[in-house]
């Protein structure tokens, strides 16, 4: 009982003194040290993990060129496939929306097998990916609309 009382008083006394202690000032070298470490880590990151803003101009130009080649490849491959379908016997069974869907499917297959798969696996940049997805969607929509119109014209001419 006596010991407990003594402990309680001592605890309260020490607690009063310790709780009155202010926070210690961190050394001024702490922030520069951390930032230096952080920048060193950033420099060792692979190119595909760097954000678009952190990329140098040369890297940005390279990425734009590669992306342009990929889009051009997709576009011309899609166009080529479309012309293949037009001449094949299989095309006879397809009309209107079905053929457009087929083009979409073909393009998606190409994308998933090649460019997009490569990019989504290796490039983890939301901004870059959004731009890429928007551009690919735009190209696909253009192909789909143009193919639909051309098919509709062909059918109209035949009739």
């Amino acid at each position: 009982m006596r010991d407990k009382k003594k402990n309680d008083i001592l605890e309260r006394l020490i607690d009063e003194q310790l709780s009155a202690l202010p926070m210690r000032k961190a050394p001024v070298t702490l922030i520069p040290r951390v930032m230096q470490k952080v920048r060193a880590t950033q420099n060792h990151q692979p190119w595909y993990l760097c954000s678009w803003e952190d990329c140098s101009l040369a890297k940005k130009i390279c990425l734009i060129c590669i992306s342009s080649f990929i889009f051009a490849g997709i576009y011309f491959l899609g166009y080529y496939l479309w012309s293949l379908f037009q001449t094949s016997a299989f095309y006879e069974f397809l009309d209107g929306v079905q053929s457009v869907a087929w083009v979409f499917y073909s393009l998606l297959q190409i994308l998933s097998n090649n460019a997009v798969q490569l990019l989504t696996v290796s490039v983890k940049q939301p901004v870059f990916l959004c731009i890429l997805i928007l551009m690919v969607s735009g190209v696909m929509a253009l192909i789909a609309i143009s193919s639909f119109i051309s098919k509709w014209i062909n059918l109209s001419v035949k009739n």
């Binding site: 961190a26 702490l30 922030i31 951390v34």
Partner: protein
């Protein structure tokens, strides 16, 4: 990738808190700076989640505490106090002598007193300082401290009591109620080596 300026601002907000926790647990400014650096590098990796989180301060405190305890366990032989102390009855009763002139204490101002208390904390052995800091500054219970440090509950209580005693003796002239305890419990004023004997 987090924005560097935003992260610097985040660090400015929390650096004192992290450094204080590390300094009090480790009792060494150089090691505390190293641990603080490690804490902020870890924070940088998940800065996107931390930046707007109301629990960022708590997260930083917990990481600092864990890193400090790991540091003490791994890199300091002094930490063997915790594991060896139970098998060593003579060292169990040892208390530290801190050279502070109690007459001078009455003449110093509040700021100087705070500096002195910090110095006294740093001079306590790890086995006493760490439980004391976890109890008084981190708000942990005896049971939580025992689990965190992997020692018995009785050992935690004894270590904390010794640390408090040590501080009380050195700061007795600054405690207004200390005289009352001294009158009521004269055995705790007999001297540092009289404890437990």
């Amino acid at each position: 990738m987090p924005d560097d300026h935003q992260f610097e601002s985040f660090m400015r907000d929390y650096q004192d808190m992290v450094f204080t926790v590390a300094c009090r647990l480790l009792g060494d400014e150089t090691e505390a700076e190293d641990i603080s650096q490690e804490v902020f590098i870890r924070a940088y990796k998940i800065f996107d989640q931390l930046v707007d989180s109301p629990t960022a301060g708590g997260w930083l405190k917990i990481v600092t505490r864990n890193l400090c305890i790991n540091h003490l366990k791994r890199f300091r032989n002094k930490w063997c106090f915790f594991s060896e102390i139970e098998s060593n009855s003579t060292s169990d009763q040892q208390t530290i002598e801190i050279p502070v002139d109690s007459v001078q204490l009455e003449q110093i101002n509040e700021n100087e007193l705070h500096v002195l208390i910090e110095q006294l904390l740093c001079k306590l052995p790890d086995s006493q300082r760490v439980p004391l800091v976890l109890y008084h500054f981190e708000g942990m219970t005896y049971e939580e401290i025992a689990a965190e440090l992997n020692i018995s509950l009785g050992k935690v209580k004894t270590d904390i009591f010794r640390a408090r005693e040590c501080l009380r003796k050195k700061l007795s002239s600054r405690f207004p109620v200390a005289c009352a305890i001294n009158d009521e419990f004269p055995e705790i004023t007999k001297g540092p080596n009289s404890m437990g004997k």
